[in-house]
Symmetry: C3
Subunit: 267 residues, 3 copies
């Protein structure tokens, strides 16, 4: 693995984050999500909780048409199969052609051949942001990712240098999630500590972060700030929700409440 890199640590509250989250609630961006079937409901609830407008338009007959009119697009390959992969490619191409910012969550890339090939094709349409765990970012960097299903066996700090390198290579902002999230535009590397370990025990926390990043790319000045605001909000809401929760069931409930509570008390 590579050595350490210079990182700027950012935490909520922070003036730029406050500004971007306020804009999110004000502009209510229409965010198309083509995501996995496990997390659709939770993802929609996260977007509604922060003031964005989710639209799960996933059919191959409609995906590209909608990617043209949406304010942002998320593609998450978590449970992808044949015809859905076609919808993803069409939507990504449409987003690329019509300058709709789009975020790619390459779940378990490197672990299975079909989705690895699909992710390679999706990268041709130049995602605005790529968000993954350490395994996924390492796999995209051509290293052995060491995935166990959808979970990473490496820490995010090990993948941070590769995130920066991948950002240079692709032109995308790259987010690697973990105990500390790292975000790079190929130049700066930002570290977002915080959150709580219980977040790894509730399905959809990682996947919905991708949707939140996508929403913010529609309103923030640049995708580095969009990603930073999303990760910092998640870290803060996760910490607060964990304090008042008895387990993963109550955490999921409190987390949604905290997302609304934090973002409605801004400014």
């Amino acid at each position: 693995m590579k050595g350490t890199i210079v990182t700027t640590i950012i935490r909520y509250p922070h003036p730029e984050i406050t500004e971007d989250l306020s804009e999110l609630r004000r502009q209510n961006p229409l965010t198309q999500c083509i995501t996995n079937v496990v997390v659709t409901g939770f993802t929609a609830n996260v977007l509604l909780a922060v003031g964005a407008s989710p639209a799960m338009v996933i059919g191959v007959e409609e995906a590209a048409e909608f990617a043209r009119i949406a304010n942002a697009l998320l593609i998450n390959v978590g449970t992808v199969s044949g015809v859905e992969s076609r919808a993803m490619l069409d939507a990504a191409q449409s987003a690329h052609e019509h300058a709709t910012p789009w975020t790619l969550d390459p779940v378990a890339v490197g672990a299975l051949r079909f989705r690895t090939k699909l992710v390679e094709e999706l990268l041709n349409f130049e995602p605005t942001v790529i968000k993954g765990n350490a395994s996924e970012i390492l796999a995209l960097s051509g290293r052995e990712g060491g995935a166990k299903g959808t979970e990473s066996i490496f820490g995010s700090e090990e993948a941070a240098p590769y995130a920066k390198e991948l950002a240079v290579k692709t032109g995308s902002v790259v987010v690697v999630t973990g105990a500390t999230d790292y975000i790079s535009d190929g130049d700066t590397v930002i570290g977002i500590p915080g959150g709580d370990a219980i977040m790894t025990k509730v399905t959809g926390t990682g996947c919905s972060l991708g949707a939140l990043i996508a929403s913010l790319t529609a309103v923030a000045p640049n995708p580095l700030r969009a990603s930073t605001a999303a990760c910092a909000l998640y870290a803060a809401a996760g910490e607060r929700a964990a304090l008042e929760s008895k387990g993963p069931g109550s955490f999921a409930v409190n987390f949604l409440d905290q997302l609304t509570s934090i973002t409605t008390s801004l400014s």
Copy 2:
């Protein structure tokens, strides 16, 4: 837009609503739901909470067969794609042929071509109830619906006259949801105030209302009463749940609890 129309305001509690909700719990109607992937779990939980029996039989190989034996059917086109649209058409045709009452929720009709054409075809099978937001009802009436994704930019009061007109034209009971819900059989127009704005921040509240209406069409004397009981129960449960909730996460939990609490304390 059209002028105002004469409306009868109904609120829970009300003798006919109590009667219909009691029948729902007593008869436990088997309600087939072909709905969108975002809200399947929440919809099933809503039906179970009020004493109905949900059955998400969605495969094209089974949809029509099941629509014959089910007590009611819901079709919601929220995340429809190719083969699923075939299952919807087959199920609607089967329901029509076998006198199974069925409810249509034409999510985002008018905003995307594929589903707009699909909804037109579905209307040939004469839904018992059509339920939509103002944008959707306006689009079905041939007006510019002004949708933003799945959300309406018009209020329900603006769509109420068109709901009545659409009911006359189709023979369906038409429900337009909003701050006040309006229900028309082409003759009467009923208004159901209540609920809480937080309901628009929890995914599935609107879609599960369609499933609840469908369930009630299996037991109520007529679809106007079925729709009225469903909307009035939602308004009451939404108000009560909002009072005890800190945000959208706890609201969803409390809403399900209230649906059970209200419907088990009847009579």
Copy 3:
């Protein structure tokens, strides 16, 4: 129906159950779930709550490849349609060939022709465990199951003798769920009382039990013990969660919390 059979009653806490649940948390088995769209999120949350690692790899392009590397597999036919049935058959065949233990939940078998035929084909790949309600187990035994959608109209005690017989015939461990769950390997019959009636009013409680059984087959000494540990944990967590819940919404939250609370306090 048949007469009564000799049954050993087991309740949590119990040394073998404690041992198996501790192993589950220690080994964190990667559990592939090809399940119905209604319960994917809840099922993933249940597995995470007890320390297993869910992976919803469902595409026909990936299902068999993943069934080779997964520690266990669940197949639940609840909302199956065409291409998904192909993925199920491929995954079951792969699990069979590579000695991955797998659990079959034949939802509504006997009630609809397509899935009934599919389940027959799946049985050729010799599931480690078959889990169903009384109607489903009776249908698999060639009797009239008396299903109403996904619900059984017979009690589990009526199906217990047939469960034993089916275990002898198939070589699978057979679990029949109900007020008391019965588990048989064709020799012993174990009865697990407990739980709470509210569990039938929350979608996914039954389906996620199948996933929990699957996870435990990866770590327990034999599938009889795996099934016993799963049912006993569910009964205990259900009882405790019911005590602190106001309705089905809060029950689902408290149930997840209890699953974590019980399994982290072991040993």
